[in-house]
C-alpha cells in the first residue's frame, strides 16, 4: 500500500482531541427542570407583557391556581382514579396481547403472513371512527373505554415486538437450541429478553396513546374521568381549568413515562 501524501500529514487540529475524547460527565439531571422553568417564566412574563386574554392562553400561574382548586374543591381525584383505571386497563390488555402476538408473529413466518395483512389494514383506521360500533358492542362504560384504549395502543406494541424479535442475534438462538431449548423456551428465554429494549420503546409509545384514547373517549361519552372534566370545563369556558386538566394529563404522562423508564433501566442494566 502506498503512502497517501495528502492524508498522511499530521493534521494539527485533530491531535489534542485524540487524547481526550470521552465527553466530560457533566451533572445533567438538572438541565431538564431548569429548561422547563425558563420556559414557564417566559410564558408567564410574555403573556403579561403582551396582555393576551386568559381565554386564548392562560398564564402558568392561573393554570396552577386552577389546578389547586380542582384538587381542593373540584374533587378531581376521583376523576383521576377513574381515568387511570381505564388507561391501565387498556394498556395492560394491549401490552399482553401485543407482546404475545408479536413474539409469535416474529418467530412464525406463517402466522406473520396471516396476521400482517390484518394489522396493515386495521392500523391506519382512525380508532375514533369505530366509536359507534364499539358502543354497540361494549356499551358506553368502562369496558368500552378500555377496549378503545387497547385498540389504539396494541399496534405500537405488536410492531415493536416483531422488530425486536427480528433483531435477535441468530447466534444466541443457535446456542440455546444447542443447549436443548425447545422452540417454546427459545421464544421466552432468548427471543423475548432480546426483544425487551424494543418492546419497551413500544410500550412507551403505547402508554402515551392509551392516555390520549381514554381522554378522547371520555370526552365523547363519560360522566366521570379527566376527559369528562375537560369537556365540562370547556362547556362553561373555564379556559384556566381546561389548561389545568391538560397540565394534569401532561404531568401524569410524564410521571408514567419516567416510571416506565426506571423499570426499563432496571431490567436493562446489562447494557454497557
Amino acid at each position: 500500500m502506498s503512502t497517501n501524501e495528502t492524508t498522511a500529514q499530521p493534521v494539527g487540529g485533530i491531535a489534542p482531541a485524540m487524547i481526550r475524547r470521552t465527553p466530560k460527565r457533566d451533572y445533567v439531571p438538572f438541565y431538564g427542570p431548569i429548561a422547563m422553568i425558563v420556559f414557564l417564566v417566559v410564558w408567564e412574563v410574555g403573556l403579561r407583557i403582551a396582555e393576551i386574554p386568559e381565554l386564548y392562553l392562560p398564564r402558568p400561574t392561573v393554570i396552577a391556581q386552577n389546578l389547586y382548586l380542582l384538587f381542593t374543591e373540584g374533587g378531581i381525584l376521583q376523576d383521576l382514579g377513574v381515568t387511570l383505571y381505564r388507561i391501565f386497563g387498556g394498556f395492560f390488555l394491549a401490552a399482553f396481547v401485543g407482546i404475545v402476538l408479536g413474539i409469535l408473529m416474529g418467530t412464525s413466518r406463517k402466522l406473520y403472513a396471516i396476521c400482517d395483512i390484518f394489522i396493515a389494514v386495521l392500523y391506519p383506521i382512525p380508532k375514533i371512527s369505530l366509536v359507534p360500533l364499539l358502543i354497540i358492542w361494549f356499551g358506553s362504560g368502562d369496558l368500552f373505554q378500555i377496549v378503545l384504549a387497547a385498540l389504539g395502543c396494541f399496534f405500537p406494541v405488536v410492531i415493536n415486538t416483531i422488530l425486536g424479535v427480528r433483531q435477535c442475534d441468530q447466534g444466541l438462538i443457535l446456542a440455546a437450541r444447542d443447549l436443548g431449548a425447545s422452540e417454546r423456551q427459545i421464544k421466552w428465554k432468548v427471543v423475548f429478553p432480546a426483544a425487551v429494549p424494543s418492546i419497551f420503546s413500544g410500550l412507551k409509545l403505547a402508554l402515551g396513546i392509551a392516555i390520549i384514547m381514554v381522554v378522547a373517549a371520555e370526552m365523547l361519552t363519560a360522566k366521570y374521568g379527566l376527559g369528562a372534566r375537560l369537556q365540562l370545563s370547556g362547556q362553561i369556558l373555564e379556559t384556566g381549568q381546561v389548561f389545568a386538566i391538560l397540565l394534569l394529563l401532561a404531568v401524569l404522562g410524564g410521571l408514567l413515562t419516567k416510571g416506565q423508564e426506571r423499570i426499563d433501566r432496571m431490567i436493562g442494566r446489562w447494557r454497557t
Binding site: 386574554p53 386568559e54 381565554l55 386564548y56 366509536v131 359507534p132 360500533l133 358502543i135 354497540i136 356499551g139 358506553s140 362504560g141 370526552m219 365523547l220 361519552t221 363519560a222 360522566k223 369528562a228 369537556q231 365540562l232 370547556g234 362547556q235 362553561i236 369556558l237 373555564e238 379556559t239 381546561v242
Partner: protein
C-alpha cells in the same frame, strides 16, 4: 303481556346537558321506580352516536336530535319513531345564542336582521347537517342572502367557538346556554340574537324508540311517557320559579355549578306540556334536508312521529296521577 305496571328494565341513551333536565328530575325523584321501571342510562355527548345502539338493540329509548342523520336513517328503512317531545325553542326561551364577534356587533349585528351583514363573512358550525346549519341558513335567507354568500367553517364545536370569535377567526357561531353567558362575560363575543327569533318553536329532539318496542312493550313506553310528562311539569315550573330542589338536581347531574344553572334558568330548554312533538317543525326540517340532498327521500309524518303513546300517557295521567 301482563299487567300495565309489570316490572320492566330499559336502557336509555341521554345527553348530559341542561336540556335533559326532565330526565334528570325523573331519576332523582324516583318517578321511574314509582311505575316499576328500572332505567339504566348511557351518556353520549352527541345524540347521533346513540342511533346505531338503538337500531342495533343495545338501547331501548334514546334522545334523538333533529338533524339530517335522523331523517336519513329512517329514510333508509330503520324502524323507529319519535314518540314524545324532547325540547324545543319556545318563544322567548331559545337555548342557542347566535353570537358574533365584537366587530360585527359594533357594525350593528344586534338582532336577527344583522344576518344581512354576513356577506363574505365566516360562520362557524360544528358539523354539517345539524340544526345550527339550518338555523343560520334560514336567517340568511330571511335577510336576503343565500348560504353561498358566506364562508362556512366546520369543526367549530362549542369549545373552540369562543376562542375563534375572540380571535376574529369567525364572525358568527351559535353557542348554547350556559356557555353563551360565560362567553359574553369573558368578552369573547356578543349575543346578537337567539334561535327562537329565527325559528320559533323549532323542534330540537324527541325521545325515540323502535317501532317494535312501541308496539310490543307499549305499557313500558306509555309509562316512560308518563314519567316524561310529569317531570316536564316540574322542570318547566322550576324554569319560571327557580325551585332550588330542581336546580340542585340538575347541577348534580350535569356536574355544573348551581350558580351557572341558575343563571341559565330563563332559557332552559322549552318543553311542550302535552308532550307532543311539533310535527310542522319536524316536517319542515325533513324537507329542508331532503332538498339539500342529504336525505334520500321525503318522508311522511307517520314515518317519523308516533303520537299514540304520549296521548295515552296524558290520558292516564289526567285519570290518576301516580306521582302526587
Amino acid at each position: 303481556q301482563g299487567a300495565f305496571d309489570a316490572p320492566a328494565k330499559l336502557k336509555v341513551g341521554i345527553v348530559p346537558y341542561i336540556s335533559s333536565g326532565p330526565f334528570m328530575v325523573a331519576q332523582a325523584k324516583g318517578y321511574f321506580k314509582k311505575l316499576n321501571l328500572e332505567v339504566e342510562s348511557e351518556i353520549f355527548q352527541d345524540g347521533g352516536l346513540a342511533i346505531p345502539s338503538l337500531v342495533g338493540g343495545a338501547l331501548d329509548v334514546i334522545v334523538s336530535t333533529c338533524n339530517a342523520g335522523l331523517f336519513n336513517t329512517i329514510a333508509k328503512g330503520a324502524q323507529f319513531r319519535l314518540f314524545t317531545d324532547r325540547g324545543r325553542e319556545s318563544v322567548g326561551m331559545g337555548s342557542q345564542a347566535m353570537m358574533v364577534n365584537k366587530e360585527l356587533y359594533e357594525q350593528g349585528f344586534t338582532d336577527v336582521s344583522g344576518y344581512k351583514l354576513m356577506k363574505g363573512k365566516k360562520i362557524g358550525i360544528s358539523v354539517r347537517g345539524s340544526i345550527s346549519q339550518l338555523l343560520h341558513t334560514k336567517a340568511l335567507q330571511r335577510a336576503g342572502l343565500t348560504p353561498e354568500d358566506c364562508e362556512w367553517q366546520w369543526g367549530v364545536d362549542t369549545k373552540s367557538a369562543p376562542t375563534l370569535l375572540a380571535a376574529n377567526q369567525i364572525g358568527l357561531a351559535n353557542i348554547p346556554i350556559p356557555l353563551s353567558h360565560a362567553v359574553e362575560a369573558k368578552g369573547a363575543g356578543k349575543i346578537a340574537t337567539w334561535s327562537d327569533d329565527i325559528m320559533p318553536d323549532v323542534q330540537l329532539a324527541g325521545w325515540a324508540a323502535k317501532e317494535t318496542f312501541l308496539t310490543e312493550q307499549r305499557s313500558v313506553a306509555v309509562r316512560y311517557a308518563m314519567v316524561h310528562l310529569q317531570s316536564v311539569r316540574d322542570f318547566v315550573d322550576a324554569a319560571t320559579n327557580g325551585n332550588p330542589e330542581i336546580v340542585k338536581i340538575i347541577a348534580e347531574a350535569t356536574r355544573l355549578p348551581a350558580e351557572v344553572i341558575e343563571t341559565a334558568r330563563p332559557r332552559w330548554t322549552g318543553y311542550a306540556l302535552d308532550g307532543l312533538p311539533n310535527e310542522a317543525s319536524v316536517m319542515e326540517q325533513a324537507k329542508f334536508w331532503t332538498d339539500a340532498g342529504m336525505v334520500t327521500r321525503m318522508l311522511d309524518a307517520s314515518e317519523i312521529i308516533n303520537t299514540d303513546i304520549v296521548k295515552e300517557a296524558a290520558q292516564r295521567l289526567s285519570d290518576a296521577n301516580p306521582f302526587i
